[in-house]
């Protein structure tokens, strides 16, 4: 009988949820109780809402256990390993047991995430064992020409997964056409969209797939050097990439005359970003790699002709590159089977916000947003009402519930005013105020604007001021129109994508939630009860115990009442600071 494998998901999310402690516990148990198991590590398994996750593979098959802590792991190991009796109530995914979580996995097609959760990312042998580095070997073995590789990527219909949606094959073709003694390929791993974590999971879970994608790209465009520009906020991803690079060098996948291809010399190094959202833009990223302030410059010349150190440079996103080896290995036709006419293949989405199952999903393009949120995501937390979904982060927009049947492909999402972006989907319910969301994103872009273009630098600031005023009950007639006017001016007069898209969150919320703006401006009401200054605080006489905590903490002393008697808030003196609401232990402060 084979030794059962016990695999713990140790991605950033898992570790934050306590997976490392679970791993240590298993290791201790293995030693103390002499358990006959093979303990292994993997990275993000995708079901983040069930972290920490522990998979047990025995002679019957695979069982994935969710919500495992240091206590439960004792029970699971004892029953499953010692008594051969899987603990059904904690199983979230298995070939042998049906679970309520099956709908999360059924419709997923894993191409970019093909190895995430299956391999130990720190072991190159495990990547090779699942078909890794076979694509570059195929290219070397069959002597595929550079143009063949590019044609294959073109045929697959793969478009840039960082958000732009530019055909990857075309990008490679341009870079290939520009002849030079030095050329670069850069992997953009500066995942700055707050609320998206696809690239982090791929880098942590399957770093070799990204490296192989880069090596294939380097071959196709004749690149001599590779750079991975990764956020410094992702220390685990950087650590695993460094390990992967060392291993790939040792095995001859990088270096000189790679796999016997004469004259194919290529190596990769990592450049850590230093925290600037604008560095996701190609020319700003290049400036940052060169050690300067990350400010975009005018195009043309495009990086394909003059990029890093003024040499032809090709920049691809993490997910795009992770798809490449699969496409070469399985052929463009297989990839084209998935998706819609103009958006082929699959897309990884990071589900977050007020959704029951938040995590990482990979679905074929063309699935409806409704299916992603309700079928895979399990619907809205606490069974509240679905209000909207935010796609594309600060450059994207908010899609309202009534457009939930929109399918996910580049063109359909663009038509709503949002963008596909890198794949963040933040779900919002009835308790989310749309003006607050718009303000949140404007605050972000306003801080992140590099300051080069006047409209982006000052315009976003003015927009933020107007939005702040609206949320504080100082909104005026004409504010909506002014926001729209500023939006179009910023879009028209900014050099780079940051400015050109910064007003999108405001424009889409005005388009779909104009009544909410009007309620704030005209009636001085926040329907979602979020904007503090627009709320009325009252004491519920049924619940008030007269503990006096609210009165003691009130900064304006506007709460009156004797000990053990119902208190009362004098509205005319209330400054709506919310202190009483957060201090009350009896939920006796009512908001309206």
């Amino acid at each position: 009988m084979e030794t059962p494998k016990v695999i713990v998901g140790l991605g950033s999310c898992g570790i934050a949820a306590g997976a490392a402690k679970v791993f240590d516990k298993i290791q201790a148990l293995k030693k103390v109780e002499n358990l006959d198991i093979e303990l292994k590590k993997t990275s993000c398994i995708g079901m983040c809402y069930r972290e920490p996750l522990v998979e047990i593979i025995d002679e019957n098959g695979s069982y994935l256990y969710g919500d495992i802590d240091e206590e439960r792991v004792i029970e699971v190991l004892d029953k499953h390993i010692n008594q051969h009796n899987p603990v059904k109530e904690y199983i979230v995914k298995s070939d042998l047991v049906q679970t309520e979580d099956d709908t999360y996995n059924e419709d997923q097609v894993k191409i970019a995430l093909r190895n995430c959760g299956y391999i130990d990312p720190e072991k190159i042998e495990e990547y090779e064992g699942r078909g890794g580095y076979r694509a570059i070997r195929m290219i070397a073995g069959q002597q595929m020409s550079r143009l063949d590789v590019i044609q294959s990527v073109l045929n697959s219909g793969l478009r840039g997964r960082g958000g732009g949606g530019f055909p990857t094959g075309l990008k490679w073709k341009f870079a290939n056409n520009n002849k030079s003694d030095e050329k670069y390929i850069i992997c953009n791993a500066d995942e700055g969209d707050p609320g998206a974590f696809m690239d982090r999971s791929v880098l942590e879970g399957d770093p070799h797939a990204v490296l192989e994608g880069m090596i294939i790209g380097a071959y196709a465009i004749e690149a001599t050097g590779g750079v991975i520009y990764c956020r410094a906020e992702y220390p685990l991803a950087i650590k695993r990439l460094n390990i992967a690079i060392e291993q790939a060098r040792a095995k001859g996948y990088m270096g000189e005359n790679i796999l016997g291809i004469d004259g194919f010399n290529f190596d990769i190094y990592i450049k850590e970003g230093a925290g600037a959202f604008v560095c996701g833009e190609e020319t700003a990223l290049i400036a940052s790699v060169e050690g300067q302030r990350g400010m975009p410059r005018k195009r043309p010349p495009f990086p394909a002709s003059s990029g890093l150190w003024r040499k032809p440079t090709n920049i691809n996103n993490v997910e795009t590159l992770a798809n490449i080896p699969w496409i070469i290995q399985h052929g463009a036709e297989d990839y084209r089977k998935y998706g819609t006419d103009k958006s082929r293949g699959t897309k990884v989405f990071a589900l977050a916000g007020k959704i029951k199952r938040s995590g990482l999903v990979e679905v074929p393009m063309g699935m409806s947003i409704r299916d992603v949120i309700f079928k895979l995501g399990g619907g809205i937390k606490d069974n509240k009402e679905f209000k909207a979904v935010q796609m594309g982060g600060p450059s994207g927009g908010t899609i309202p519930a009534y457009l939930a049947d929109t399918i996910v492909d580049y063109d359909s999402v663009n038509a709503t005013g949002a963008i596909m972006g890198s794949g963040g989907m933040v779900v919002m319910d009835e308790t989310t105020c749309m003006i607050d969301v718009a303000k949140f994103f404007l605050d972000f872009t306003q801080k992140e604007s590099c300051g080069k273009c006047t409209f982006c630098r000052i315009g976003t600031k003015r927009m933020l001021e107007i939005l702040t005023r609206i949320t504080e009950g100082e909104g005026r007639e004409g504010d909506i129109e002014k926001l729209e006017e500023l939006s179009y001016q910023i879009k028209d007069n900014s050099l780079c994508g940051l400015g050109q898209t910064a007003p999108n969150p405001v424009l889409t919320t005005i388009k779909y939630f104009r009544d909410e703006y009007e309620a704030h401006i005209r009636d001085k009401k926040c329907p979602a009860l979020v904007c503090k200054k627009l709320l009325t605080y009252e004491i519920d006489p049924e619940k008030c115990t007269g503990c006096t905590v609210c009165a003691k903490n009130c900064p304006t002393n506007c709460i009156e009442g004797e000990r053990k008697e119902v208190h009362f808030i004098h509205q005319e003196e209330c400054i709506k600071c919310g202190t009483c609401y957060s201090k009350c232990k009896f939920d006796a402060i009512k908001l309206s």
């Binding site: 934050a16 230093a274 940052s288 060169e290 302030r293 990350g294 977050a352 982060g393 933040v426 300051g451």
Partner: protein, 172 residues
């Protein structure tokens, strides 16, 4: 505006306690290669926890880069700090997922408990409170990170309790 980061009032810090010779090895490693200013500054910050004025001057002198250029880069990127920080940096995530799940409450509660504003350090030098864009643990929102430890599914009260426990441990 990134410019807002510069216009903040800088505290006058005595650099006398800072041992600038710690930088020698770092400067030696990076000075001959092009485009290495950012790793050089990152390394400096790793050593001192921030970038002291003296370090700017030393780097400028030994690499030949203009002081204005180095200062320009250091103030452009959110990662770099020009003031000393507390022993523990409390990073409260304000990504989209955390924001819609009330990350503001966490920051406000911590501001009140630690008696500092966002970006400031407590008087005893123990904690620096920071808002960060996204820690990438969106499924656990709202999240904060202290050192290497990440805490998820927080509310204001829990966050304050965690910080208080650290303080109790430190004072013992």
């Amino acid at each position: 505006m990134r410019i807002a980061r510069i216009s903040k009032k800088q505290e006058v810090v005595q650099d006398a306690e800072v041992d600038l010779s710690l930088l020698d090895e770092l400067i030696e490693k990076y000075k001959s290669k092009k485009g290495n200013l950012i790793p050089l500054l990152q390394g400096t910050q790793d050593i001192f926890g921030y970038i002291p004025r003296g370090a700017f001057e030393k780097i400028s002198k030994e690499t030949g880069l203009k002081l204005s250029e180095i200062y320009g880069v250091a103030t452009f990127y959110a990662q770099f700090r020009l003031n000393p920080v507390g022993k523990y940096i409390v990073k409260v995530c304000h990504g989209t997922a955390c924001h819609v799940q009330n990350a503001n409450e966490v920051t406000e509660a911590l501001e009140e408990a630690l008696k500092v504003k966002d970006g400031e350090t407590t008087e005893d030098g123990l904690f620096t409170l920071e808002s960060v864009a996204c820690l990438g643990c969106c499924s656990l929102a709202p999240v904060m990170m202290i050192g290497d430890e990440t805490y998820g599914k927080l509310d204001g009260k829990q966050a304050v309790k965690i910080v208080k426990n650290i303080r109790i441990k430190e004072n013992n």
